[in-house]
């Protein structure tokens, strides 16, 4: 008697394991296509946010579906460059969350002062606000001359803007107030010249900075660092990609090196939670544990 095959058991589909909608299938295929053609890897991004951004892009380029947009993007590299602006976020300020920078001054700087030379990595630097904040802070604290900064992002257009260091003058009031609240020891106006509605930051601030194209999703570690600041970047990643990024920071940081995250970001949901101590948890500053 032929043996009967066991009955097929269908998976018990709960609310969060429903079969994906067509739109979500198209979204995944779109991200796959972008990766295969352009090597920008958004496949590990948190989908709720990227879906919304791509729906906006569909509207702008008059595409009814993600599949339509995919057809356009695959054949038009210039469009991909434009699309990067939709997919990567460029909302920041100088000294955003002043308490973060105050905590760096008061708690991290005393440690950094014990090093003869320092490397600082601003990961996901976007248009450079975080880099200039850090450079100004390091100058004020007397650390600039021993420090090398790496400012990395996946968006070449954002990196260009970061390198230029030019911001609309109507943002300066917020920047100035943030700087003051961060415990700034000088006047922010010492660091820029204003003309024709734009504030141009002093190029000496980036004299010790290497700007570089680097992806937390696909690239490897490039240097040993003592301080990594990566704020409001990880929130756009899903858990596995967050874990990859934190893994890079962990590998890059020297023993007892510091990691700064955004004010609502945490290591708690990554597998690296035990590899760092909460150095100043309220400020989201972590310290890599020394071995043994």
């Amino acid at each position: 008697m032929p043996q009967l095959l066991p009955p097929v058991t269908l998976p018990n589909l709960t609310q969060n394991q429903k079969p994906p909608q067509i739109e979500d299938i198209e979204l995944r295929l779109f991200l796959e296509a972008v990766f295969l053609k352009y090597h920008y890897d958004f496949r590990g991004y948190a989908l709720a946010s990227i879906k919304r951004r791509l729906l906006q892009a569909c509207q702008k380029y008059e595409c009814a579906t993600f599949s339509d947009l995919q057809g356009l993007i695959l054949r038009d590299p210039a469009l991909m460059a434009e699309l990067l602006a939709y997919l990567t976020v460029q909302v920041s300020e100088l000294f955003r969350d002043p308490s973060y920078f105050r905590a760096i001054r008061e708690k991290v700087v005393p440690h950094l002062k014990t090093y003869p030379s320092l490397k600082v990595w601003v990961a996901g630097c976007s248009t450079g606000e975080e880099l200039y904040s850090m450079a100004i802070l390091f100058r004020e604290e007397g650390l600039e001359e021993r420090t090398m900064f790496y400012a990395t992002d996946i968006n070449p257009e954002a990196l260009k803007q970061a390198q230029a260091g030019v911001y609309s003058i109507d943002r300066i009031q917020t920047f100035t107030e943030n700087h003051r609240q961060s415990g700034g020891k000088s006047s922010l106006s010492d660091y820029y010249t204003a003309a024709y509605g734009w504030a141009t930051f002093d190029k000496s601030l980036r004299a010790r900075t290497v700007f570089s194209d680097h992806s937390l999703a696909t690239d490897a570690v490039f240097a040993e660092t003592q301080f990594v600041s990566c704020r409001n970047v990880l929130i756009y990643f899903n858990r596995p990609l967050q874990t990859r990024a934190i893994g890079l920071f962990h590998e890059s940081l020297s023993r007892n090196g510091f990691l700064g995250l955004g004010s609502r970001e945490t290591l708690r949901f990554t597998s690296y939670a035990d590899e760092f101590t909460e150095f100043s948890y309220g400020d989201r500053l972590y310290q890599k544990r020394g071995e043994g």
């Binding site: 609310q15 709720a48 976020v89 920041s92 899903n238 858990r239 004010s263 708690r268 949901f269």
Partner: protein, 196 residues
């Protein structure tokens, strides 16, 4: 395919005057309330919000400010953090975003409602409370579109009426209820979830 309404989650949007309505609802839900509740209240971006700790003291349910990539659990109330959008991911966790403001708001009610509607589809209950702008109207319409339930605080019972009025205009099928009636609806949804 239309079966009986099977609720899986609740989202609430509140702005000016909304805290009063919230305090007439949330503290009266039991500790074992089975549904998760995500709440956006418009608050100033530059200071730490006391809302979560305020309601934690008053509520039997667990209350916290949402953390990025936190798993969503029943019996838990999540308040959006100031200056971040709060979104629901389909794999059942919360995501934060620092994207630009929507209708001058971050957190945005529309963004929470739209992402939650996408994730929970017909299982979602959306509630718009008192407020002085139009945030939430588009999000509530999206919830209705996905087959979820739309509830709006009766404008006459709201301190600021613009937000409930805009929501009712956008969603003519939404039920207009007082805070105590909203509470009764939520309790009933919890019971039907427990008995499902």
């Amino acid at each position: 395919m239309t079966g009986p309404f099977a609720p899986t989650a609740v989202v609430i949007g509140a702005s000016a005057g909304g805290l009063k309505a919230l305090s007439e609802i949330l503290p009266h839900l039991p500790a074992d309330y089975p549904l998760p509740i995500m709440v956006v209240v418009h608050i100033p971006p530059d200071k730490p919000s006391l809302i979560a700790s305020l309601f934690d003291d008053k509520c039997a349910m667990v209350v916290s400010e949402a953390e990025d990539k936190e798993m969503i659990e029943g019996g838990h109330i999540y308040f959006a953090a100031p200056d971040y959008h709060l979104l629901v991911e389909k794999e059942g966790c919360l995501s934060l975003s620092a994207d630009e403001e929507v209708l001058y708001s971050r957190p945005s009610i529309d963004l929470l409602f739209e992402s939650a509607a996408d994730a929970y589809e017909a299982g979602l209950i959306g509630i718009i409370l008192s407020g002085a702008n139009e945030d939430g109207a588009a999000g509530l319409r999206r919830i209705v579109f996905e087959g979820g339930r739309a509830l709006v605080q009766t404008p006459e019972t709201a301190m600021a009426q613009a937000m409930p009025e805009a929501a009712l205009k956008a969603c003519p099928s939404a039920l207009s209820l007082s805070p105590s009636e909203l509470l009764a609806e939520l309790k009933e949804a919890g019971d039907s979830c427990l008995n499902a």
